[in-house]
Amino acid sequence: MVGKPLASIVSVGISKFGKRDGVYARELFAEAAKEAFERCPNLDPKHDIQALIVGHMGESYEHQGHTGPTLADWAGLTPKAAIRTEAACSSSGVALRIGIFAVLSGLYDTVMVGGVEKMTHRTTADATEFLAMASDYPFEQWNGATFPSLFALMATAHMHKYGTTEEQMARVAVKNHKHGSLNAKAHMQKEITLEQALNSRVVAWPLKLFDCSLITDGASCVVVTKPDVAKKFTDTPVHIVGSGQASGSIGLYEREDFTTLDAARLAANEAYDMAGLKPSDVDVSEVHDCFTIAEIIAYEDLGFCERGKGGKLVEEGVTALGGRLPVNTSGGLKSKGHPVGATGTAQACEMFLQLTGQAERRQVDGAQIGLAHNVGGSGATATVHIFRRG
């Protein structure tokens, strides 16, 4: 029995992801919001949208805090309530959950949920430092840890425990670049070869450049309503039928097992239970491939395969377009790009497009059930959402 919808998505918007010189985060967000408004002619934004909930990670990039009302202003939504959520790379996964709470509570009928980050105008060293702020400061950052290095610690552990290989990780990159080449909004729309990935320079051994997602500028948003008003806006809504979130230790070093994210497993279980669905019911998913090893661990944490078998799953082509369970059809964080605050709702956008048959060249035929897995930091936050075609 599939659970009843918690909330419904009636429109989505996503800016072009990439190196967007000369624009501010608020301008990127206005671009995404405008697309969501245009996609849904029955929506009167100033009348229907009652609040804005936006994920945004860092003030440091643009010396701009107080981003909730800033983004509402540029999206044309002032004076509606504007709420910012911050949970590192899962800032807008959390925003989506808050958006669900907002309509479930009965306080609002319709809200906009989104996220944004403007990153590429800063140096790689600066971006590396700002991103590292999502890890533990007095022990991890203090000892020179970076985000690639924290996921590299997981990769080394996964290789040691399960025999996962650098080649299997590289195959995640090759797959996601192929998917991204089919997405006009993706940052890098070009395919790469296995050799290119394996021979790219080391960032944090065993992770190389092509194991890492992209530093990207971008914004995304979804319009969330109560299920019983969704049909007022569109004949093809997408229902959110499961939502899970959990926390893990801020320091990776405290965890019992570095080959899994407890928070992601807990969030997945919560979402599956709420939806009355199991992993084998999922037709298409977007998972948090901030690093290639993270996608392999995600397969296992989401129950797409047994623990330790994630490398095999990508090797066998199961998760590629045309495979049994396509993962990251948008190109993922790896190729579409990872403007950290925008990522969670960008995943929800892709699920909306897939489940309404609008994913163009990357469409998974007949997809009914979608899943989005969004991780903050090294797994101190994880959200999982499950979507059903309306």
């Binding site: 790689t124 060293a125 600066d126 590396t128 430092e129 590292a132 007095p138 022990f139 991890e140 950052q141 203090w142 000892n143 020179g144 840890a145 970076t146 690639p148 290095s149 590299a152 610690l153 997981m154 990769a155 080394t156 552990a157 040691h160 320079r201 080391v202 960032v203 944090a204 051994w205 065993p206 992770l207 320091g251 990776l252 070093y253 405290e254 965890r255 570095f258």
Partner: protein
Amino acid sequence: MTTLSNESFTIESFYRYVGEGKLMAAKCNKCGKVMLPPRPVCPKCFSKDMKWVELKPRGRLLTYTVIHVSPKQFESLVPYPLGIIRLEDGTQFVGMIRGVEQKDLKVGMPLIVDFEKASSGKPSEQTNWPAWPRYYFKPA
């Protein structure tokens, strides 16, 4: 009876001990949990009744990486290894590994915790980071 106030079970106190060449953890007098880093309230049983315990600075490497792209404060050190160790008492800790080539790093290898005699002033001199003394891991 504790001789130190609860406020003392802090990260600042931990680094003060590092400056004395000691790896100190908090131990909960109620449930026995050993906390590295120390915490003012036990996350397991919520007790504030703590005592300091000195940990044996020996452990084994659980996992490691070698960092080639770093924040600017650490650029003079690249490439540098970072690892997580399990100490003999069962707690886990993260730190840089010194004095070992990448090819000789192995999961499971024994490591000891060592301490700089005094704060080197680096890398915090370029930033507003605290000038804490440093601990690090090295081959046993």
